[in-house]
Amino acid sequence: MTLFPCPPELQSLARLFWHEEMASTVRHHVRNKLSSVRNSIFYIRRKVQEDTQLVRDDPRVGQFFQLIETELEACSSALTMQLPPVGEAALIDLKQAAADLLRKLVFPPGTSVEVSAAPSTTALIAPSELELALFFVLEYAVARKAGVLHLATASSTAKEAALELSGPLPPGSSTPGLKIAKRIVSRWSGRVEEGRGPNGDWLLTLWLPREAKVNP
């Protein structure tokens, strides 16, 4: 389930979000197809309505168009269902949350994480979801054979708190876990940016809201 060991409660939550990720992939695919059907029907209905004789002679033509619309609406509504927030949102001290998570993890040889002494910053998010997002970000770095990583709060603004993970990172591909981390952060109206820091090292920043503006 995860690329390196983590506590059972985190494994359970990871499993839940794996399922949500799969559901999201299905939702995406079905929406594409529903969209084609819906727009096609809209087009055909317009054309048929121009042929007033057809609509007048057979009332079922109009009824069936209405039925299709109703069924499509029901399908679209079903696709809006998403995993509800896991726990209540709370103001979390990001540095403390990172330190708490790191105490629970055993990294493979060669990888370690240093938490910097930068001032602490708070963000509004469900604690367990933040923990899982952080775990998947770290898992991504481990999968990329990271060496010594630095975790710090930095560059925060009045509305957003930033948590940065940086270090030398060999080239490599993304992980499904990173996608989940991005989904979690996005659920709470945040975002994840990946790029290079001032010293050229890999830098991944989690931007999290400091105030309530919740997506889930």
């Binding site: 939702r27 929406r31 594409n32 969209s35 819906r38 727009n39 609406e73 696709l79």
Partner: protein, 118 residues
């Protein structure tokens, strides 16, 4: 009619064909592209008033085009039409989820064009 030109970027053939048909029927002139590369080739095909971008494309993400579109057509309205769960995209004038009612979609696109033109 040049102010009604649309660049439609979507790698889903069925979705692209159906939406292009609806847009043309509503009076727009539509140029279709199935990838970022093709969209870049078509970037100056017409003085576009609107771009409708899918998010997940074979060679990248639709929103990557936003800056180039705005540079090429300063008055363009950019709509993201995604199969993903609701999300916002920086630089886009409107972010829509696929499979919404077609008339509502047309209304939203029209509003985006009018909003940018103001």
């Amino acid at each position: 009619m040049s102010q009604r030109s649309v660049l439609l970027v979507d790698d889903d053939l069925g979705g692209r064909l159906a939406l292009a048909g609806v847009l043309e029927d509503a009076g727009y002139q539509v140029i279709e592209a199935e990838s970022l590369a093709e969209a870049r080739k078509q970037l100056k095909a017409l003085p576009f008033a609107l771009a409708v971008l899918d998010v997940e494309l074979a060679d990248g993400q639709g929103p990557e085009l936003i800056a180039e579109l705005v540079r090429a057509h300063p008055g363009i309205a950019v709509a993201i039409l995604s199969g993903n769960d609701a999300a916002t995209y920086p630089g886009a004038h409107v972010s829509l989820v696929k499979a919404m009612p077609t008339q509502e979609l047309l209304n939203q696109l029209e509003l985006a064009i009018v909003g940018v033109a103001r």
